[in-house]
């Protein structure tokens, strides 16, 4: 069995206490919520924190409720709770759908939505044991100098592999972060950066405390689809989320789409407005939008599954999710 590196476990009951502990242990510590990403990564010796600060007992981080014109989702809500929550299902069905597609039931009972936002990027050369990575000669993201995907050393292209952020991006969600110096709030698309080594603007001392989705977004038609080889467990090989504001007569007021599991951050599809706004979402328009998505997406061999096929699936999946918008 793979063993965990030794660590001390801290169980603060407030955000202030948690950030205080982080201040105290600084670089030796990491936060842990559900642990479904961090614990396997620790077993692979990708992280070896000597202190883990658990967020499970921090009550401020839980709760799903309407507040100041937003649906506020506490970051420590599990993916199972988000997926099964009546309010989420009613207002943001695509989010419930995405949360319900993460991993398998046991992992969704432990993994949190905040953790899903902070999920470490994934790569076939990175998510491996220390023996395997040693035999490889390590990689740019951890302990090495070369990226084996691109065969150059400049940039890590590990894939953002979380299911919920694309949906949150199409809904204009905000992320609240708390650190030793107080709180700040970011639009979720600004939360992610294009760096496979560390792909968010969250500093290691900050905690994602909540996700806020404007209630106004609930009137948008939403859809989500995930490509994977098995119907459970697997991380996405491609995730597509779309949402659109469509008038009663079928005229598209606004539309946006996000794809992920290709590069280091979720990609907001561009060039859709001029094609779609003011028009009708018919088969021809869907084909054009799908083609435009295809042009923008160039997956690399960062996951074990054929990159050409993953690229070819972009227009297919974009078309399929857009067709769901027509029906709903």
């Amino acid at each position: 069995m793979l063993r965990l590196p030794p660590f001390s476990y801290h169980k603060p009951s407030s955000v202030a206490e948690a950030t205080g502990l982080m201040d105290q242990y600084a670089e030796e510590a990491m936060y842990v919520a559900g642990g479904t990403d961090l614990i396997p990564n620790m077993k692979h010796r990708l992280f070896e924190p000597t202190h883990l600060i658990a967020l499970k007992s921090v009550t401020e981080l839980s709760g799903i409720r309407e507040e100041n014109g937003d649906l506020r989702i506490g970051s420590a809500e599990t993916l199972a709770e988000v997926a099964g929550h009546p309010e989420v299902q009613k207002l943001f069905p695509a989010l419930a759908d995405a949360a319900g597609h993460v991993a398998g039931p046991q992992l969704r009972n432990a993994g949190t939505i905040g953790g899903n936002l902070c999920l470490d990027t994934r790569c076939t050369y990175y998510n491996q044991t220390s023996f395997w990575r040693g035999a490889l000669g390590y990689c740019l993201k951890k302990d090495g100098t070369v990226c084996h995907v691109t065969n150059v050393g400049k940039k890590c292209v590990a894939a953002h592999s979380a299911d919920t952020p694309p949906v949150l991006m199409t809904l204009g969600a905000m992320v609240t972060l708390a650190g030793p110096d107080g709180e700040r709030r970011l639009p979720i698309e600004e939360f992610f950066i294009t760096d496979g080594i560390y792909n968010t603007r969250r500093t290691p001392v900050e905690i994602v405390t909540e996700i806020r989705i404007p209630l106004g977004a609930a009137s948008r038609r939403q859809a989500y689809a995930k490509l994977r080889q098995r119907k459970s467990i697997d991380f996405p090989l491609l995730t597509v989320a779309v949402s659109a504001d469509i008038e009663g007569n079928g005229t598209v007021q606004s539309i946006n789409g996000v794809v992920t599991a290709l590069g280091a951050r979720p990609r907001a599809l561009s060039g859709w407005d001029d094609l779609a706004v003011g028009g009708t979402l018919d088969a021809d328009m869907i084909d054009e939008l799908a083609e435009r998505a295809h042009e923008q997406c160039h997956p690399l061999e960062n996951l074990i599954v054929d990159a050409d096929w993953r690229r070819a699936m972009v227009p297919v999946y974009v078309r399929r999710v857009l067709e769901k918008l027509r029906i709903t």
């Binding site: 069995m1 793979l2 023996f131 035999a135 065969n151 080889q229 074990i304 297919v316």
Partner: protein, 808 residues
């Protein structure tokens, strides 16, 4: 042994009825003990240092720093156990720890024993190995073409030979080329079967205990305690009478635990040095490196038939990618050809099969050893031939049925054969005649058949002793103890002997104890491999139980002054056949017998018939006392945009001779079909290329990225048991554990063709591979529903056959 005529179903009380597994509740509730559950006082934990290179010379190893760590009790390297082991006596080519050369990434180099696992892991970092890297052979054809300019994977056995060739077999039966030339139709195809691994849930685990005065005990999650016993004695140079091997319950094996492994020798040697018990448990990654899974097969098949659809000549050329060591490879190389000569007759057959070494984890036996890969090619070839002669593939198969009580073209003896009934069962249950070539584009059905051995007729080391033995003992309380050396690996062999004891001695099942898996008190059984256990252990158990039953019958008959054969034992009582009101509790019957004959015990054994094989070199390999037969129909839906194949349902009909417990037989049928389905659609034991950072590095040694189907991916199965009542099987039983895997894969391939007109001759049929094949077919206009044989469907309500859809 005494052979009795088979009982009719009406004479049997328990056999043939659904029964629980005797250890089922313990497993379901977590009480069952597996090797890793065993903790001995003072036990140390061992870890094995593994090679990071696919091929390298070991220049130097320095273990002094590791030895100096506090809490490290022993460190060993190759020189400490300098004798090669191997399951096949003629091809032992592995050292427990490599001595001068490492041959794959993961090869064992050194081992430590320390007070806990964390320290053992850390101690490995203090062992310094200097390697000189050698060019690695990763492609079997490069191995074949090697000229010795760089070191072979193994030294050639003959000077000037290619050391990369493990085994080459070419056998010909009949005039293959002449008959082929005279055939009306000849179809040739290139096929590739990707390697796959067993993925048993329990990783390999072993504990060694040296008692300090000369006795070694090894607990191991093994399928072959007897062969392990022999190899431990030989390699450690110990008297076998001083070695005890215990096989606790095993959490799945599928062939992946059917030979000795490095860890078993290491725990023994470390324990001898440290004078404390030592446990080693593989990580999942190590299980992938230990492997011994399905060989990748590169196959060329040329097959001919007459216009009427009679198979004429078959020519097969096969290259097996063996990985770094021989394992069972000698047998695999033969099985690749030998096991294809039923259930169809053919007038001429030749196979040329070559196994080569490559610098990758060793391949070996996996459920359906050696014949799953060629069966895929063979049954797809049959489908192609049937189409060429305009015949329904069921009809083609029927026309070539080999029959029962016959010999195959390679001279193997066939006894019972229920293949036609299997075909009929799946044809009817699947409503084949309304579906074949008639479902809408994208949906299809496919059929395939197969055969498999009920145990290999000859043991791995030549000897004339029984293949299986059982000892049975009866107590005054009514309790029956069965001492069984067979290896329970989840398949139900412990339950099987209990059912037989209860059936023959007339006691309730709860009265039977099975004392098992311990070479100190059980007779030899050769192990859980080649689907031999029900057939051989079952016959041994009947033999032992019959001897005891006859004593009990005689004693009761003496008491009642009747004939012994008039005494029936059933349901916990002894009764008179002529007047079943005349009864006594079975306990009293046992007491009468003990009073008359003394302490009650009996041994039983089974040995194979000796005239069932072919009279040529290699003719014993593939010989079996009986063969099972299987037919599958698979129904699939293909998404021609994504390449995703949904297998909706597989109908599995299997001739198991007699289902001793239909629940366990159905479990084996479903489990086999599931495993074949997984290999068909997703499994790939593959390795990184030089362009991918590190040649020979396992692509994904974890159960996250090595994909086996989840319950959500698994199709519906319908199991249809066919009972041909074999003349030599226990109550007529044959195997059920491996045969039903074979047809899954070709049935799915043939169904894909029926659905979209695309032939998948290479595994796996994963979405990317499917997508590429579909796109190629689309480009040349070949995507579409194939034509119905003869031009028109037979059922009037069916849709028109030809609908050359572009598939969008």
């Amino acid at each position: 042994m005494i052979r009795k005529p088979h009982k009719d179903k009406s004479d049997l009380t328990l056999i043939g009825t659904p029964m629980r597994k005797i250890e089922g509740l313990d497993k379901a509730t977590g009480r069952a003990l597996f090797t890793d559950d065993i903790v001995l006082p003072g036990m140390l934990h061992g870890k094995i240092l593994r090679s990071p290179h696919p091929h390298a010379r070991i220049v130097a190893i320095d273990v002094s720093e590791a030895e100096a760590l506090e809490g490290v009790h022993a460190v060993i390297t190759g020189g400490d156990i300098p004798i090669k082991y191997g399951i096949i006596p003629w091809t032992a080519d592995e050292y427990p720890l490599c001595i001068d050369r490492v041959r794959y990434i993961g090869d064992a180099v050194a081992a430590v024993a320390a007070v806990d696992e964390d320290l053992a892991i850390r101690a490995l970092e203090f062992i310094h190995v200097e390697y000189e890297e050698l060019p690695a052979f990763l492609d079997p054809y490069e191995s074949l073409a090697a000229d010795g300019s760089t070191p072979y994977v193994h030294e050639p056995k003959k000077e000037g030979g290619n050391g990369n060739v493990t085994k080459q077999v070419c056998l010909e039966f009949g005039e293959v080329d002449d008959v082929m030339a005279g055939s009306d139709i000849v179809v040739e195809g290139e096929y590739f079967f990707e390697g796959s691994t067993h993925a048993a849930i329990e990783p390999h685990c072993a504990i060694g205990l040296w008692d300090g005065v000369g006795k070694l005990t090894v607990w191991s999650a093994t399928q072959v305690p007897h062969y392990l016993h022999r190899e431990l004695a030989r390699v450690l140079e110990l008297d076998p009478a001083r070695i005890r091997v215990i096989q606790p319950l095993v959490g799945g094996a599928f062939g992946g635990k059917s030979e000795p492994f490095d860890l078993e020798f290491c725990v023994a040697k470390l324990s001898m040095l440290a004078a404390r018990p030592v446990k080693i448990l593989y990580t999942r990654e190590e299980v992938f490196y230990a492997h011994r899974g399905r060989h990748p097969f590169h196959m060329n098949y040329r097959m001919g038939c007459t216009e009427e659809g009679k198979l004429t000549s078959v020519n097969a050329e096969i290259v097996l990618d063996g990985g770094a060591y021989a394992s069972f490879g000698l047998v695999t190389t033969y099985y690749a050809g030998q096991l294809l000569c039923a259930p169809y007759s053919m007038s001429a057959y030749r196979f040329d099969s070559t196994r080569v070494y490559t610098n990758k984890p060793a391949c070996g036996p996996k459920r359906g050893h050696g014949s799953v890969q060629p069966r895929f090619a063979f049954e797809v070839q049959i489908d192609k031939l049937a189409e060429r002669v305009d015949l329904d593939p069921f009809e083609f198969r029927r026309r070539n049925f080999i029959g029962s009580n016959t010999r195959t073209v390679n001279q193997l003896r066939i006894t019972s054969n229920g293949f036609l009934e299997c075909l009929e069962s799946v044809e009817r249950a699947s409503r084949w005649r309304r579906k074949f070539r008639q479902l809408p584009f994208g949906r299809g059905v496919g059929v395939a058949g197969s055969t498999y051995i009920s145990g290999t007729n000859y043991p791995i080391y030549p000897n004339d002793m029984p293949h299986s033995g059982v000892q049975m003992q009866v107590d005054r309380s009514g309790r029956v103890s069965v001492f069984s050396g067979a290896s329970e690996i989840g398949q139900g062999c412990d339950s099987m002997v209990a059912y037989i004891a209860a059936e023959e001695l007339g006691v309730p099942l709860e009265y039977v104890r099975v004392l098992r898996g311990d070479t100190d008190f059980t007779p030899v059984d050769l192990g859980a491999y080649s689907s031999r256990v029900t057939f051989m252990l079952g016959n041994a158990a009947i033999d032992a139980a019959t001897k005891l039953r006859e004593m009990v019958q005689q004693a009761v008959a003496g008491e009642w002054k009747i004939e012994a054969n008039e005494v029936l034992l059933a349901g916990g009582i002894a009764m008179w056949a002529s007047d079943t009101e005349r009864q006594m509790p079975i306990r009293e019957a046992f007491n009468l017998a003990e009073a008359r004959f003394g302490t009650l015990g009996a041994t039983g054994w089974y040995n194979t018939p000796k005239d069932v094989h072919g009279d040529y070199r290699g003719g014993t390999i593939g010989a079996s006392p009986a063969y099972s037969f299987t037919a599958h129909v698979a129904e699939v839906e293909v998404d021609v945009e994504t390449g995703v194949v949904e297998v909706e349902k597989i109908w599995v009909a299997h001739d198991c001779g007699r289902a001793l417990n239909p629940v366990l037989v159905e479990g084996q049928m479903e489990g086999s079909a599931y495993m074949g389905f997984g290999e068909a659609l997703m499994e790939e034991q593959i390795f990184k290329s030089p362009e991918q950072g590190r040649a020979g590095l396992h692509n994904a040694p974890s159960l996250l990225d090595y994909r086996i189907p989840t319950s959500l991916d698994t199709p519906e199965f319908e199991s249809l048991i066919v009972e041909s009542i074999d003349p030599e099987g226990p109550y007529g039983a044959k195997e059920a554990g491996e045969g039903p895997l074979h047809p899954s894969i070709p049935a799915i391939a043939n169904a894909i063709y029926d659905a979209i007109g695309v032939r998948m001759d290479k595994l796996p049929f994963s979405p990317p591979n499917m997508w590429r094949a579909i796109e190629e077919a689309r480009e040349v206009g070949a995507l579409g529903k194939p034509a119905f044989p003869g031009g028109l469907p037979v059922t009037p309500e069916a849709a028109p056959a030809r609908s050359m859809s572009s598939g969008s």
